[in-house]
Structure formats: structure tokens, C-alpha cells
Symmetry: C2
Subunit: 147 residues, 2 copies
């Protein structure tokens, strides 16, 4: 359970430090995305000394290693969430409660096809994020602006 993560970190040639594990644990327990500062606040409950730059650095490294992911937020600040799903997929983000859920559908095949046929170009990466209101926030009739 936690040893998967440790093993995965070793594969990435990253040291298995208590703070790294804690950051992953915090994100695992959260259903939605968090900002570096929010993660830092939670870290301060677990560690007497923990610097904000450490949180930033680890978040970036973990995202590089695909242990965690970023969402694209209209305020253009950084937000991260944990996702253990290793097959290609995208995300449905609740703009009210910040919950992140997997979306299986991806039309990259058709997109590549159109780029090749009409533009003679080559697709290198793509970004698909679906935003909206999750089941719960829909029930609560949340007036949806981004959080």
C-alpha cells in the first residue's frame, strides 16, 4: 500500500523521504485538488519543520514522475491531485468542491487523424479537461464558480 509508493519512488531514483511520502499520503486522502500552500498547511501538522519550497519542489518532481498530476485552473496557479490510474485518461473536475474523477473517453486518435490530414502536422501532446459540477454539488444546487 505504502510500499508501492516507496518502490515507485525508487524506480524514479528519488529518495524515499518521510516528507515525500507525507505529501503523497495527503493527496491520496483528498478527493480533489490542492494548492501547494494548502498541502503545506497540512504538512505543518505532521512535521515541526517543513519549508514551503520543499513542498513546491516535491510537488514538481512527483508530477514529473507521474505520481501526481496538475489541473489547469483559470487563475493559472498550481494545483495537484493524486491519481493512481496508469492507463491514458482525462479528468472531470468539479469547479465547486474540487473533486477530480476519471474520464475514459479520449478522441486522440481522431484528433491525430485530423491534424495529419488537414494540417500535415504531428501531434506531440494533448490537454483535455472537463469542468463542471459533480453529483453532490449538483444536488446542493451550488452556484458554480471555480474554487
Amino acid at each position: 500500500m505504502d510500499s508501492d509508493v516507496a518502490e515507485y519512488l525508487r524506480q524514479l531514483r528519488m529518495k524515499v523521504t518521510p516528507k515525500r511520502l507525507a505529501i503523497i499520503d495527503i493527496l491520496k486522502k483528498e478527493s480533489g485538488y490542492l494548492s501547494p500552500e494548502e498541502i503545506w498547511r497540512r504538512m505543518k501538522k505532521r512535521f515541526a519543520r517543513i519549508g514551503l519550497p520543499t513542498v513546491y519542489r516535491n510537488l514538481e518532481e512527483l508530477a514529473n514522475g507521474k505520481v501526481i498530476y496538475r489541473i489547469t485552473h483559470p487563475n493559472r496557479q498550481l494545483y495537484y491531485f493524486y491519481c493512481g490510474n496508469s492507463v491514458h485518461h482525462h479528468h472531470f473536475v468539479c469547479v465547486a468542491c474540487r473533486a477530480v474523477n476519471d474520464i475514459e473517453y479520449c478522441a486522440i486518435g481522431d484528433l491525430q487523424e485530423e491534424v495529419r490530414r488537414k494540417l500535415s502536422g504531428r501531434v506531440v501532446s494533448h490537454l483535455l479537461q472537463v469542468n463542471g459540477l459533480c453529483r453532490n454539488c449538483l444536488k446542493k444546487n451550488y452556484k458554480g464558480t471555480w474554487r
Copy 2:
């Protein structure tokens, strides 16, 4: 040609100022996206006095009015481009030369369907951007990192 823009600005209740028109004109003439500072540099060739905050403010307001659009860049800074296509579509962005081309294909119907069926949620917006190398940069064998 330029009066379309003026008319459209009036519809948006925005004053038709020379600087606003110049910003749109600069973006229209560009095949790719530009940063606020790059637009400012071009503006300084046309106006003796032009402040960077004016450029920022106008870019945001024009984007709100859908006269221009943003791209999502990995460095999380602001970039804008002009697009006159008024039907729903997405963009293919060349990471080498910054060219932006329209993509017609959009699977929003299927995505909404999946969100409703599997998550009982409601889609409010979606973000689809395809990145890669355009025809020309492919020819030049450009080693593609983002610009």
C-alpha cells in the same frame, strides 16, 4: 474589415480606441500566439506612449469578449492569439513556431454523456488543446520544445 471589429467592440459596450484596435490588428497579422510583453513591444512601434498594464487590461477584456483567445502554456504565463472562427472548435498549437490552427473535431457530446452516465455530474466547460509540430516545423526537423 476593420469596421467589423469596431462594430463588435460596440456590441460588447467597449469603446473603440486606437490602442484596442492596434492590439487586435497585431494579433490578426500574427500566425501564432504572443505574450503581453511581445504585444507591448509591437505597440511601442505604433504609439509614443503605451503602458504595459494597458496591454494586459485590454488583452483580458478582449479575451472575455471572445475577440481573442488564450492558449494553455506549460510555463503558465499568458499568451493570446486572434481567432475569427465563431463556431465551437479547438486548436492545434505548434510548440516550435507557435502557429495556431483550428481543429473541428470535438467530442464534447460523448464526454457529457460519460459524465452524466457514470458520474451523474453536469459539464460546464471543457478545455481541449492539441500540441505538436506544424507542417513547416516538421519539415525543418525542429527538435520540439515549447516556445
